[in-house]
Amino acid sequence: MGVRRRLDAWPVFRQLSGPDRLGRGAAAESRASAELQPRVAGADKVVKSVCPYCGVGCAQNVFVKDGKVIQIEGDPDSPVSRGRLCPKGSATLQLTTGPSREHQVLYRRPFAKDWERLDLETAMDMVAERVLKTRAETWEDSVDGKRVRRTMGIASLGGATLDNEENYLIKKLLTSLGVIQIENQARVCHSSTVAALGTSFGRGGSTTCLQDLQNSDCIVIQGSNFAEAHPVGFQWVMEAKKKGARVIHVDPHFSRTSALADTYVPIRAGTDIALLGGIIHHVLEEEKYFAEYVLNYTNAAAIVTDKFHDTEELDGVFSGLDREQRTYDTTTWEYQGAEVQSASGERDKAARHMDTTESHDKGHGESHGSGGAAIGKGQPDTDPSLKDPRCVFQILKRHYARYTPEMVEEICGIPQSVFRDLCQAVVANSGRNRTTAFAYAVGWTQHTVGVQYIRAASVLQLLLGNIGRPGGGIMALRGHASIQGSSDIPTLFNLLPGYLPMPYAHSEEGLDAYIALDSTEKGFWAEMRSYMVSLLKAYWGAAATPENEFCFDYLPRLTGSHGTYDTVQEQLKGVCKGYFLIGENPAVGSANTRMQRLGMANLDWLVVRDFSLIESATWWKDGPEIESGELTSEEIRTEVFFFPAAAHTEKSGSFTNTNRMLQWHHQAVEPEGDARSELWFMYHLGRRLRELLAESGDERDRPLLELTWDYPTEGEQQEPSAEAVLAEVNGFDSEGKPLSAYTELKSDGSTACGCWIYCGVYAEGMNHAARRRPAQEQNWLGPDWCWSWPANRRVLYNRASADPAGAPWSDRKSLVWWDSEDGAWKGHDVPDFPPNKEPGFVPPEGARGAEALAGNDPFIMQADGKGWLFVPTGLVDGPMPTHYEPEESPFDNRLYEQQRNPVRQVNPSRHNRYQPSGNDKGAELFPYVTTTYRLTEHFTAGGMSRWTPYLNELQPEFFCEVSPELARERGLEHLGWATIVTARSAIEARVMVTERIKPLRVQGRTLHQVGLPFHWGGNGLSRGDSANELTSMALDPNVHIQEDKAFAVDIRAGRRPRGPALRELVESYARRAGITDDTGTEP
């Protein structure tokens, strides 16, 4: 090196001799600095992707070098995430490339104490063989004389973390095999949302999108720790706050959401309907409702039949209750002038017109996910003056008359002054010029009245005129990357894609009868036949003809509730013998985890597909029952297959986020070892099964053999083309041309479409879910970023953003409007209305379908075009939300004699005992209310976080949160141990004494609450007891979701007993409390 070059390498010389005398630029750069390169600089390619954790759907850039993922960063072009990632999203490099992932198939023989290795092909063959054997052994052609052609011997659980295309193949293949027990996390997280929003507005998805929250003037976050569970989505709450919005957080537990809110309102867990009912009462009594909106856009004026009697007349129950059967005859809730045909969860009641044999259908609420409940022919009588005592408006006023500030204080523990302030905030920020949004998550959904929690918010938002408008709406915060998608393309027992209901067993079992039961006369749900026939064509192609009703007969039939909690009971009974767990960990994440494991211990075979050895894969070896001595490995006959799963970076596909937006992620690298996608697993399992049965002439094999199963494959691993599956989901015509909109679907068999609500995502042969037009180049809704169902609309029901004449309610809140010159609806969003229908349009007599929608019917999927304040059909537990105490509560119901939801679903058994409540003897042993929740750094049952070092450094241990007062009362020490006990089990947790949980004054006494994160289990880098050991299977009757957000416990200092002493402790509580299998099961 010459002298000059040596001098130039010396920063001081450069600084003194060059133009950068102050050393603020290039002069100060050392050689080491100059040689530094960004980690991503050498990347061969950058792949567009999506975070696989929560439902916000943060966009990611995946950097690849030499066939390896070297970095994952947020994509700044996303209109939703704007480049941000939370701790989990930031740790996805470690999740996908870390050493904790398994890449080898593992096999546990019956009665074995350990795993052995198995090659992938052999394992696939073995699984195929077992599927066919179990199916043959458990096949049912009929039940009670009705054709069902199904197997109850096989069940599947999982799908919310999977791609839509994977869920599509799971449902398609298993349905063709006659499997009906197909479920996923959506059942246990947000099934309540679908039934509640669906019956209220006509669709079961969030009414708005995250980024529209920035337009809110007030945001009430209730039943959600938004900032910690959906951190990146929370930026839109902060944007609203920056613009002057008021943010209110209502929650039992002070969190970072509370810290960033203007007002924090502590509440007793399980009492939100009393609070929301109180606000409804305030709005009605003070006449603060948006009168023009209410009159024109809701069913407030509809007259209800004189057979209806309210809870005020019947002390807490509605008319039609059959206590013995635990059901309501919902016909007493009908509109006068329009006969109701069917009701959610009681679909068979309508079927009885055709069928004299009763079968008990308990699962239909979610089928209103995109098509409201059907009402009969004729128009409901109405009273536009809203004065008729039997009109919905007056019924509503009477129903909530006693939900006074005093009552709210008594029930919820919220001081009257705080409650009044909340009411005033909501009312002052609603109307023509202002809008309020509600945001919630599983703090509302997971109750025995979960559907009615969300219904209460729906009623309130309709009264205030906040639906379909900028900054308004109800944001259902979904917690998995594609839990919305796994409802839309459902891996759920009672649904087919697009919320078409699975058929039930009837003697009248044809397609006509099925359509007649559910389709509406008015709106787009009237075209249900086109959607269904197109689905059958997608499933069975050439075999589906008009002559055989498009193979409608190939669909297996339901005979009741076959949800995931029912499946556990079928396992214990020995009916269900084979189980697929596909990215779900019920041994930690489902209610009553002990019962989940006992069910699995009674299986013939279990297939677990995941990244790591989760608790649901290893319970036979190291589960709590092994430790307690209840089970021993050598006596467990369950054969277990573990298949390593591919990560989101290793496969292509789409997630549907909480905005109802499908976002495509491209494969960045091939999965290593035996890891494969679910798409691969299902496709190749199906291929094997079809080969094994190729020569079969058995009638029951025809649905499988005639299934369209010819997807093109790619690469050495023969990965099926996810884009081909998406194209089938989108639909195509007789020339193979992709369809552009669901309005193109036909009922004559000339179109095929795997999910009608996703029709348009592959319009013109382009993958619209992969579109990535930067946020900076479009409006706040980001219409060219990916694709939202339905029809790429971002704010649902946006016709309601304009007044009946078609003008925006105010300039400040304009979204879509009628352009009379062009004769079309225009605006910032895709209008959620027939594009050329005039605001003043009055449908002609006898019109049906979309033609029957009037110009002021903004809820186009509803049977009457209106938002429903009162649900005359579609739900099984009441037309209006009513406060009931949780299944287990230290308090009596202060409002009614009726303590609990009288038709809640209970599953009494020795493994699932309930506790006494209120003033009942024994309830005093469980004096504290507990709620469970999520932490930012962990993810649901831990399968995607407890094996990730970064995340476990941040949240290393299971803990319980208690107030200083409760700590003193029970002798609990900060960082010490506590044992928490219910009638199901006892767990231990580190104690966090914190003022984040305040004692409340409820019914004249002090109530302490206990907070429990629910992510832990026995495996992974950080271990601990599972909160769900404590919870019970007490379910909402509409959707079969469990109540784990409010239950009663005891808490005591010290660690829990080990070995047999653990069960002895639980039994001792049961004895002292007088608990039997029947306790708490009364209607």
Partner: protein, 98 residues
């Protein structure tokens, strides 16, 4: 390392960041960083204001190798084949047109 003034001058002359980068022997993203003081991938920054800013996304200046295919001709062929294998669809279509 080019100076900020030099990059801004070239920008004022009508060159874009790709051209500026090529002329000055640095990556376009670095030229953007020099001119604006902010990374082109918009890390830690949501809004774009001040000298050197350009409308729309600048991510491509920093991440030039991004690939995002929107269409797959093989899938289009497969869809047409699926339809051909199901003559009933065309039959229904023809019947509907009658």
């Amino acid at each position: 390392m080019p100076s900020r003034e030099r990059v801004l001058r070239l920008l004022a002359e009508g060159l874009d960041y790709q051209q500026i980068g090529a002329r000055l022997g640095v990556s376009p993203g670095l030229a953007y960083l020099v001119a604006t003081g902010h990374p082109a991938d918009r890390s830690d920054r949501l809004t774009a204001e001040g000298p050197g800013q350009v409308p729309g996304s600048t991510q491509h200046l920093a991440t030039q190798t991004a690939a995002n295919p929107l269409e797959d001709p093989a899938v289009h062929r497969w869809l047409r084949q699926r339809a051909r294998q199901d003559p009933g669809m065309a039959g229904a279509d023809a019947k509907g047109a009658d």
